[in-house]
Symmetry: D2
Subunit: 311 residues, 4 copies
């Protein structure tokens, strides 16, 4: 029985110090402190599968992901089409704009602005992306499809796109440079998919749904220890966790940053205990869910991780 240690904070306190002091606290801070421990151990001991859902790139989290890749803290990256679209928008020299969440959306449309809570994206950004993607898709059909294996997997398509990005601060480019596989199961559920449709009005870009299963399952299978660092729920969360349904073990470490709740039964809000009943998470795994806005908790955990790695 360990007592609650009341936290005190001082001027100039570092993030990692706060998390160390927070270990004696309860509720969210206690969980976040424990998550920092689990993350550090996960990065040192296990193959790390990162799942990134939610509009984390528009919110300003792009550099953090890239830096995690550069420091070799991510081995497998699973995300949504939207995060890749917004990474590409920045890679093409466009920006996201800090907007106002109470603005009239009908007026924003007349100004050619699309809103993501308090982030704006201008139509020009999407127009540049369209041009770029149509060129890339054409190149792919020419270069790749004409080859011996005429069907790509989604991760191969993304790797190809990554190779053509000039911006070295891009997530997709960094993943390509560092040979980190990028999975995006619902890629068609994004502007990447809409432009593939447009392209396919006249051409024929074929990408196979199931080919990636082999790669991700093999990585999980071959690793001695596996860890999942899951930001938000959605497809990335389950796509990572389900690999363990066909491998002998479960994840050894899982961190989940979410605002979703378990009581309505959806997988996004499901507890990590529930995942143990499926065998997705090991009986003796170190797991923790932090129920807070991930744009706050992700940078904090990463700051702590980088501090501990430096030592």
């Amino acid at each position: 029985m360990r007592k609650i240690e009341h936290i005190n904070v001082e001027a100039d306190i570092q993030i990692d110090e706060l998390l160390k002091k927070g270990e004696g606290c309860a509720f969210g801070l206690g969980r976040l402190s424990y998550a920092a421990d689990v993350l550090y151990e996960m990065v040192n001991e296990a193959t790390v599968f990162m799942g990134l859902a939610g509009a984390m790139v528009p919110a300003g989290m792009r550099k953090i992901i890239v830096e995690l890749m550069r420091k070799r803290c991510i081995d497998v990256f699973v995300t949504t089409g939207a995060n890749l679209v917004h990474d590409l928008i920045e890679a093409l020299g466009h920006h996201h704009i800090k907007g106002i969440y109470t603005e009239s959306d009908v007026e924003l449309r007349t100004k050619g602005i699309s809103r993501i809570y308090d982030v704006y994206v201008q139509d020009e950004a999407f127009e540049s992306l369209e041009k770029w993607l149509l060129m890339r898709y054409a190149e792919i059909v020419e270069e790749v499809i004409g080859s011996a294996s005429p069907t790509l997997s989604i991760s191969e398509l993304l790797s190809y796109l990554g190779s053509k990005i000039n911006d070295r601060n891009s997530i997709l480019r960094t993943a390509y440079d560092l040979e980190i596989p990028v999975f995006c199961p619902a890629i068609q559920d994004s502007i990447l998919g809409l432009h593939a449709w447009l392209f396919n009005q006249t051409k024929n870009l074929k990408v196979d749904v199931f080919s990636d299963m082999d790669s991700i399952i093999e990585i999980a299978y071959k690793s001695e220890k596996n860890g999942a660092f899951v930001i938000g729920g959605g497809v990335p969360k389950n796509f990572i966790l389900q690999t363990m349904l066909v491998t002998p073990n479960g994840f050894d470490y899982v961190i989940q940053l979410t605002m979703d709740r378990p009581e309505t039964g959806g997988l996004s809000g499901a507890t990590l205990e529930e995942a143990q009943s499926w065998g997705k998470v090991s009986e003796d795994a170190k797991t923790v869910t932090v129920y807070s806005d991930a744009t706050i908790t992700l940078p904090i955990l990463v700051a702590s991780l980088f501090t501990r790695l430096k030592r």
Copy 2:
């Protein structure tokens, strides 16, 4: 300026009466009452795209979806792999079990039980499904892939599976019988995907990621009016709404039943106003979000719809 009319409820009150009385109320009940109006008008006036995320089939919502299809209230059905997996489990004669949400998950695993909040699924159910799917995948490769067009779309795969189901109360079979297209963009993020992987260890089932874009966009394009009835967020929500990014109009009717919140910026919790800034939803659309557990609000809305349709 319309005043709040305090609701009174009497013994034997019908659901549709409650919703009519609820129109004078505020907060959730006011929204739910308005949703009943929008749903009735949507079904009468528009092509209805239903999005179904969350574990709605395990929770007991299977017949409601089937009945909506039979009454021709759904024209396009977009869902998650999980809902289809659990539809198939029931179609194969297995059942979901009403469980206890506080049970030890480590113990459940030793008993061969997987938990979805307060629903249990036994390993036998998944084993039957595995056998059935591997046989179907083999048939498909033989019958379909050997044909002129050797690559299937996801909806073609699902249609094929639907055609082989004996249980006429199955969602997938009913959709097949009534020629309602079923889209499942992240199909590989489910047991359907895991078994495709298993199958592909020795065989070659190719399913194209982008082929379905054409079908869903064409339906939206050709309809005079379009409506979206979105249960939960996730991929189904965006996959439906994004069709309007490449068609001239936006959705004319949208109902969203969710517990997700807008403030963290994810698409699942995004308001329908925000969707107007993207042009996904028309400026003058009738839209409403009901923030409550969808296992409660969906049956209520459907009961009201069926009552109004009967008149």
Copy 3:
């Protein structure tokens, strides 16, 4: 092990039928169905303490509370100052207005309108209430305070106010007529408190904080069985449950309708299991929490209760 029974809904279905069918379902609907059973048994077997937090009166729930009182389904009523203030506003002939939740609040102020999500209240309503309250407080000081016991309890003050209300559809008047005690521990946290302050600039209205403890604890102590029907969290929830910290037993029945969540540790979102560790709820109590908007779930439960009581 009981299997999930998929619900089907038909035209003209009654609410109580839906709840009966919903017993075979999971998540929110399964909980709501069970709550209907618990409520019916609670009303038949136990002394019922109702807790009402949240802006339920502005939302249109006033008649439901009154009807529950008239049908003798509430024995003790614990609420917030706000719900009483809005009951009085209606009792004085004013109305709540159905408004728009996205309206500019700065503009609303210039129009003399105060907003409660999608409900408006006009300044005139508060002005009438001020006049009425100042007269009542003056009468009380004259009639009551000059008596042998010059200090009132909060429930005595509320009972006095109830006796002076002409509107027989008022919650406070109905409680007075039917001798149902009304507790409002944080009465000063409302316009009732602000006008008491105004009044006390020149007069002297003294109301004792602790006097009501005796009454509510005595009721709980003397009842063979006790039930709590808690709408929202806040002070009413704890004020009801804490009575069991000084009586030998815990509550035998508890229903909680809320959107609050347990993970942040506040009492409003605390589970009813947690309340068992305190002894507030009996080990073998029948308890259920429904996580949905209470403006939806309260009318449904009450409709079911009235249907079952009629039989």
Copy 4:
């Protein structure tokens, strides 16, 4: 139009640096960064009313509150009975225990443990508190009630209790030492109230409900600028904000740390925009709500504040 600046975090980064960098981000981090600016300005420019709801003391936030008081960052403190009870428990030498949120509550009861999410409190702590409080209440009746003004206000009662606490790290003692008024409108909704009831079985401790209104309103009235720093919702939030309904201005600064949501209409989750329609918050006030667990966001904001104050 300002662009989103992607945050990068480095080893050894200080909290205040993170918040400065976070200003270019959106969603929760953007809000938290802005909150740090508002807090610093509020502390420098305004009379600060702090509202503390939720089980923040059991969670380990006690020293932070005390330090804010010592650094003169809180001028008025409004809280719940529970937070004061748990402050007293620590002041009497007892501790809160870091527990497990999935433990069986029925078993915990048999061990004499009460649970607050993942915090345990042992029965001994409450027994010590009972003894201490009964002695204090007796002294008060003797010393104070026998005086010219025989009725106390709640804040006078709390100030008296504070004066008798030996532990200089107690919130209540620190507030007493520094003459910071402590308001607790629903004091009877806590163990402080239960023991007052016990005491009043034989004695007569009278505490007036409305007396404190004068003090808190006067402070708001006399200050040139007012700020509210609101942790959680509940009674403290409204009790602070409502003071502006009877003073000419509204709050000039408001920070709200909460997980509650606006859509269900309760005051706890109400937006600060809504408070402008009531005149509780000025038209041109600087306001921000951070939707995250307050045990995380409070220490972060305070660390930033102390860093900026030191400069």
